[in-house]
Symmetry: C2
Subunit: 356 residues, 2 copies
Amino acid sequence: MDKEITLAGSTDSQLVDDVLTSFFARSKSRAEAMHPDYRTMWEHLETCTVGGKRFRPRLVMTVYSLLGGTERVTAATVAASFELLHTSLIVHDDVVDRDFTRRGIPNVSGTYRNLAAAQGSSPSRAEHAGLSVGVIAGDLALSNAYRLLGEVDTDLATRQRLGDLLDEAIFASAAGELLDVLAPFDPTPQPVEEVLDMARLKTAVYSFEAPLQAGAVLAGGDDLLVNALGEFGRCIGIAYQVADDLIGVFGDESRTGKVGWSDLREGKRTALISYAADQPQWPRIAALLADPDLTATGAAEVRELLIESGARDQATRLAADLTERALQALVEPYVPQALRDGLAPISDVVSERVRA
Amino acid sequence: MDKEITLAGSTDSQLVDDVLTSFFARSKSRAEAMHPDYRTMWEHLETCTVGGKRFRPRLVMTVYSLLGGTERVTAATVAASFELLHTSLIVHDDVVDRDFTRRGIPNVSGTYRNLAAAQGSSPSRAEHAGLSVGVIAGDLALSNAYRLLGEVDTDLATRQRLGDLLDEAIFASAAGELLDVLAPFDPTPQPVEEVLDMARLKTAVYSFEAPLQAGAVLAGGDDLLVNALGEFGRCIGIAYQVADDLIGVFGDESRTGKVGWSDLREGKRTALISYAADQPQWPRIAALLADPDLTATGAAEVRELLIESGARDQATRLAADLTERALQALVEPYVPQALRDGLAPISDVVSERVRA
């Protein structure tokens, strides 16, 4: 997620890092006892988590601390569990998208694809070997998300509520991933409601709702508070995705790190595109998007048409409205003012992204 | 696993079926609320488990019952958890092996590959879509193995020991799968010890050791009993694999359901091949195995050479020795006679397979 969001303090972050470092140390040592190549795979899996911003753990820790929770090592274990879930989802998402790099360096699949290629495998065999290791590594991250949560030292009821949140996060993101895989078979643009449902399933639940709620559950928050955080997370998570998709099309390439029209060329389903589909500019936009060799000139024309059709403004307004709705969910007396203030930076980031 | 092994009684099997049926009913209903296509995927995932023999659940139930356990619904939940683990591993193993059928019908990946192809996707895109859904479906089975175990109504210490067993099963089978993926890059036959280590990691731990031990842990068995069952499971699980590999090469095609030389053509690493690699017949065998177009005549020659070299006899003896060692692990007073008698059918099956 975004590097600009500053939430939990550095001591909390350090605690999460410590839990993960200790988890990986144990795993590497167990793996070493089985086979040196297995240890190496664990090292690559650890590398996947080290490069990230650990956004979900920070949500857990922020909510927990602001609600007065003091068992910070316990909270850090729950937070680390959400980080492993995230690792598992990105490793498997890269398998599904046949992506072999992440943040500009080879991911798990890329590392093993390159290894196989260097040892003489054909490109297609090397690619499949890489993806296969991705499947295995993601499985290990996923099962250890449960495992870490199982180690949390708390009462049975709390443990079960945390288990429910992790389960809901996995259940929803699998649905989002499935619908994404099946989507290309139907070239009609989806209604905007469906696009937002997808964003909720694929991102908002596991990246926002569940970690926020886990922090509250662990701090002993009641159902009204937990529900309010769920609503906040849902709205802000979807808003974040809408804003992110706007940046993907209109953003500065040097900031996004993507070619400015890769989302367009891939036919990514976004609120922006759904809005455009109802406008007279759509036939021309659709023709350009259908071109697998879309050029910079073509992409510039699509951008102009998206602005002219009002789709950009509609999507921008949607992100702002969702952000506003998110903040409205954080009402007193259910949500203490300190927590509301503490979560404001998240909505600020979405607002800034939309303005950018 | 094998249909000839009769273990737990039909009432126990019914209980496990009931737990799984109820789990899938809940999941399908939750999925339906997200999207009808998600419910459909859950239906396909359920189909994967219905066709199987539910061998691992039967191990859990058999040990638990023979040790006098009476909380049979609890045991059935643990048993169902191991079935979901198995489902997850075979679904992901099929992704890794790019297999689109299992037991003669399309598996999850095959079902979605066919669907994509019917909707006009190119063969390579359809294949990738199928494999992608396989990744997602396997993730859901895996996470729900943990989830079901978390629902088990037992004391904390027992729950943690059960969690350790599930964790060890996943940790070991991931290692086995990884080493399998990396193996083709090194064409030298492995020493027989390495082949047996692989068989242990990939199959024996999750299919034999862990379910046997889980039944004992749940019944309150002490460490000596649990360790004895682990040793039994390890030896019998490896013996089973050695026997299975012999049948893969020398067995009756109508019984194995495989083309009689597919294991040979794929260069599968087996104890049989490792033994042959030390014999004067090896260069000729290796030349035949390296042929991607190995014919029935070539396969018949390989079989003759494997017999002539003594490799077949060595592998047969190994399976018998391991079976004997397995039974010796089940010694009184640690292991009650009733349990020893109850587990005998498993070793009988291995013995029969070797003789067949």
